[in-house]
Symmetry: C2
Subunit: 355 residues, 2 copies
Amino acid sequence: MTAATIRPRGVLYRWADVLPLTDRTPRITLGEGETPLVRAASLAPECGLDELWFKLEACNPTGSFKDRGMVVAVAKALEAGARAIMCASTGNTSASAAAYAARCGIECYVLVPGGKVAAGKMAQAVAYGARIIEIDGNFDDALRAARELTARHPIALVNSVNPHRIEGQKTAAYEICDALGDAPDLLAIPVGNAGNITAYWKGFRECAERGLAARHPRMCGFQAAGAAPLVSGQPVPNPQTIATAIRIGNPASWNTAIAARDESEGLIEAVTDDDILEAYRLLARREGLFVEPASAASVAGLLKLGRSGRTRGGRAVAILTGHGLKDPDTAISHGTPDVTRAPATIEGIEAALGW
Amino acid sequence: MTAATIRPRGVLYRWADVLPLTDRTPRITLGEGETPLVRAASLAPECGLDELWFKLEACNPTGSFKDRGMVVAVAKALEAGARAIMCASTGNTSASAAAYAARCGIECYVLVPGGKVAAGKMAQAVAYGARIIEIDGNFDDALRAARELTARHPIALVNSVNPHRIEGQKTAAYEICDALGDAPDLLAIPVGNAGNITAYWKGFRECAERGLAARHPRMCGFQAAGAAPLVSGQPVPNPQTIATAIRIGNPASWNTAIAARDESEGLIEAVTDDDILEAYRLLARREGLFVEPASAASVAGLLKLGRSGRTRGGRAVAILTGHGLKDPDTAISHGTPDVTRAPATIEGIEAALGW
């Protein structure tokens, strides 16, 4: 058997017929997509649900859902002749962009605000060899500079304003319908810049049109209370939350997120950092799923709905967007380690444990 | 459609017919297995190969290959009536054990040497709620205590001396034969405690017996030079290497590793920490794959064989055992960030970049 007969894995192979690909789009892949959908072991009743499933987007190659959209954005950039890509990001977007750029042998420029970037957060972009540009300004300045620089140079902007990102991210909705045989009754998803809720809603609508689903889910988005512009209805100048991946004050996909909510008869609500940390602990300790804090917002929202009697059975899917190892500091500072010290003898250990 | 008609993902479902399961073995899953097999973008020629593929075991739910064996070990422990599991580990084994224990609502005890454990390394076990017992002794003392305690109490030992671990880990060989339509010519794998090379060889032999492969691969194992007892032929009292996941001086699966080497006409050789770090950088910067240092040993070995003219074409698979986020310190200390500082103006950024 030759390599040509092997079907490679990846979003551009699995979902080619629902993506804007041409014969000239290079079929790149890091093995993204086809992530596990795992049924909840214990949290469904507390959420007022008959069935709860988790979509484990941390199992993508760079550890977050961003890979689904980035593979499309980078493939289309290559097709258009771009020699490099650029993004403003201090987190998951820069990790994913840097990985695909390295894979394809092109440069990746990452614009970050000066003096605000923890080394750990940028570990992936650094490892993949991205060129980091630390500017004398804030995140909004970095994004504005990225937009202007990519307009003036043959460099593709791969922030979520790039529509190919949305196209790639919608494939997770297709996978859910494929695995469950239909769309769920309810989709729970963290909302920051609002590109992902936009992408899922596009995917679910397409699945219904193509006969892959008999219904639409209610789209239930959850923002962190300190960064909840879609709940309050106005931008938040200085957003604050432990869930850094959704710490966004003025979402780029504002209108499409509101449309997803309204068209699906869903909701977008806020959960507090305490709610998020409770869900974060419950996911790890009762489901065996270690996620980054932003991912726990989806489950915090479901717990809130369930406890207030606003969910009445049915099947929900919660999107767990990124890996817990993305943010080890939160794990350590909020993990309350259960450590017993003991001598190295069997009797000593038994005594220390009270056996 | 009801949940009963949905085929869940996971090693106990996908590979039930090749595992020692009974009707009473609980079918637990965190979505482990079915990891991507991704073709190398650029490193095959330098390795003297026609084709090089990477098996991305970092895409398992806890970020390493350990989940494949742990799901079987924990399911069999539950079947046998164990109320808890125990392991001696400061790394990937404890993360995986703690995750499945949390999932199944049983206790996980992790024995670690006193005063030697960095908080970051234990972040996952802490997050999953494991009970950590820090003993006044070294790693060998911890493993000895775990063996004795599990012999005296209804607690299952889930270190790799547990044969169910090997059974689960062998399923990756089945997946490779399934994806490629045959076994590869050569399998490259990091070797520490030697359970994984043992498991892959068992899997490939079974695939040949069952007609899933027409041939066996040459098993090529690579140890870190400072922890290479299978190369030198004698235990290493004080093993040293940056690749902490294979820093083992006296491998538990010594004899079966040697058998895998000899029966497959393969080899087990050493690679230096410099070799490992070079492969670690090349994987990230030319393939877009960010792995823990131990994983890079497999590619360091292939580069060594290729550069010395000892490989002549053919198809190889390299096992990438764990995620780069498992060890952010190495990424930061060896990543040599490429950072340019600039004012927030377009002209300022262009000037700083020399455009």
